[in-house]
């Protein structure tokens, strides 16, 4: 038996809390914008745009030279960060047009095909924005825990979960059907849980570093964050609360929806935080 000791796994320390916050706010904003377009909720679109804009200062803080960030437009052919920065600007323009048209729609009660083309384009770019956040880390095989085809899907589903979480606070203003919103919330949480399970299984069956990441998630130092924080408090609890609100005798108490929203947001944040913490390089061999 050959014992190999000493050459230990190295954790990534390039991305930290600012990157986590940037992708968290981007996920909330883009997810909320997409759902608001689906539900025709103009205020939701505006708040979604504000959340997306909140990503920018965190990205700037993360960069060593914030004043040079304009240079990031230069290489969209190969760099996902470059694509993301361009997408962000396109989204801001489309979102503003969409919001302005939305208010016109409220007053004039007039829907032209052009309105929908802008909305559809804005939704496509919003999905792209969520994807760019994940592809920036998932594109390269250097960190096996990130190099997963499931990661972009997880970012999209967590983005929609976060968007739903904010809608739980706003839906009384939107004249939305709470039953429909609750169903959406339950579906995205269920998708999250399935994708998380698939992701963990994929890590467990992959390279040495990926297996170590999977071990850390369920048996290592991050298990409280993953099992208690993300799965139980961030997913199962909100699902129970949403179901409780939907099938409660009284349709009045929105407190259950709001609590579910807070817990979902916490789960979404922890998901990104944990993902940064399980970033381990393969041992050179």
């Amino acid at each position: 038996m050959i014992v190999r000791r000493g050459m230990t796994f190295e954790y990534q320390d390039a991305f930290g809390i600012w990157f986590v916050l940037a992708t968290f706010f981007l996920g909330i904003g883009a997810g909320l914008f997409i759902l608001s377009v689906v539900y025709g909720f103009v205020l939701g679109k505006l708040i979604g745009l504000i959340f997306v804009l909140l990503e920018m200062p965190f990205l700037a803080i993360e960069a060593g030279h914030p004043l040079r960030v304009w240079r990031a437009f230069a290489y969209p052919k190969t760099s996902w960060l470059s694509r993301g920065v361009i997408g962000l600007n396109v989204f801001i323009i489309l979102a503003i047009i969409s919001i302005l048209q939305g208010y016109k729609f409220l007053f004039l009660k007039d829907v032209s095909p052009y309105d929908w083309s802008v909305n559809v384009a804005a939704v496509i770019v919003a999905v792209f924005l969520i994807l760019y956040g994940s592809m920036t880390v998932a594109r390269y095989p250097s960190i096996p825990a990130w190099h997963s085809i499931l990661l972009p899907s997880l970012f999209v589903s967590y983005g929609l979960t976060s968007g739903t979480a904010i809608l739980f606070f706003l839906y009384p203003l939107a004249n939305m059907n709470s039953m429909q919103l609750g169903q959406t919330g339950l579906i995205v949480i269920l998708i999250n849980l399935i994708l998380l399970l698939m992701y963990w299984i994929e890590l467990s069956l992959s390279t040495t570093a990926a297996k170590e990441s999977a071990r850390i998630l369920t048996r290592g130092k991050l298990w409280p964050y993953f099992i208690i924080g993300i799965v139980m408090t961030g997913s199962l609890m909100p699902a129970i609360l949403i179901a409780g609100q939907m099938y409660s005798v009284s349709q009045q108490p929105t407190i259950l929806f709001m609590t579910a929203g807070v817990l979902s947001l916490m789960g979404s944040f922890l998901f990104r935080y944990v993902l940064m913490k399980v970033g381990i390089y393969e041992i050179p061999h």
């Binding site: 050459m7 190295e10 390039a14 060593g64 960030v69 760099s79 920065v85 095989p141 250097s142 990130w146």
Partner: protein, 202 residues
């Protein structure tokens, strides 16, 4: 114009870290940053145990993920196949650091003295002038020395002569002969980066 590469003979390497010191002296990297480092591993079972040393630095890959990940073009390949960073273009976004499978890129956060809290000494002031804070840095194969016809500092100072450096495109060079004729391997070949640093197995 050529294609510079390096071969490291792990049978000769004694893990003395002279290459690490040579690199630090030549490039004046601040505390916590070492472009060249030695990874160690204990191999075997008692009493037949030995320490395996693996010198690691930038591999100047043919298909460098750091180059593709860079959103500004700050990371580029020069005419000699060396991956370099143009500090004035680097925004310090660190995507290249996560894209590199060998974890050999470093962000210079601030100028720190080795003798902190004392201020920077004259050597540090002079040395740090070549680095820009807030940007990423890494091994350059001592490109400034190559321009003057010298070998990289780690190659020059290796007491075991475990490092070979030369033009991989020149069929008469030591490195290209070794790559062709001996059983060399590259680190993390499965990543598909095709490094220009080869290792002779121990």
């Amino acid at each position: 114009m050529g294609l510079y590469g390096m071969v490291i003979d792990l049978k000769k390497c004694i893990g003395c870290e002279a290459c690490v010191i040579a690199c630090k002296m030549e490039n004046a990297t601040p505390p916590g940053i070492s472009w060249c480092r030695i990874l160690r591993e204990e191999r075997g079972t008692f009493p037949h145990v030995r320490i395996f040393s693996l010198p690691a630095a930038c591999n100047h890959c043919a298909d460098a993920p750091c180059e593709k990940a860079c959103p500004t073009g700050a990371t580029y390949r020069n005419g000699d196949g060396i991956i370099l960073i143009e500090s004035s273009k680097c925004i310090g976004c660190r995507t290249c650091m996560t894209a590199c499978p060998y974890n050999v890129r470093y962000l210079m956060k601030k100028e720190v003295s080795y003798f902190s809290p004392q201020p920077l000494n004259p050597y540090e002031i002079m040395g740090y002038a070549q680095h820009e804070t807030g940007t990423v840095q890494k091994c350059t194969f001592c490109a400034h020395r190559l321009e003057e016809g010298m070998k990289p500092a780690c190659v020059e100072l290796c007491p075991a002569e475990a490092r070979y450096f030369g033009d991989l495109d020149d069929p008469e060079s030591d490195v290209s002969k070794m790559v062709k004729e001996r059983h060399v391997y590259q680190l993390l070949q499965e990543m598909g980066t095709d490094p220009h640093v080869y290792y002779l197995s121990s």
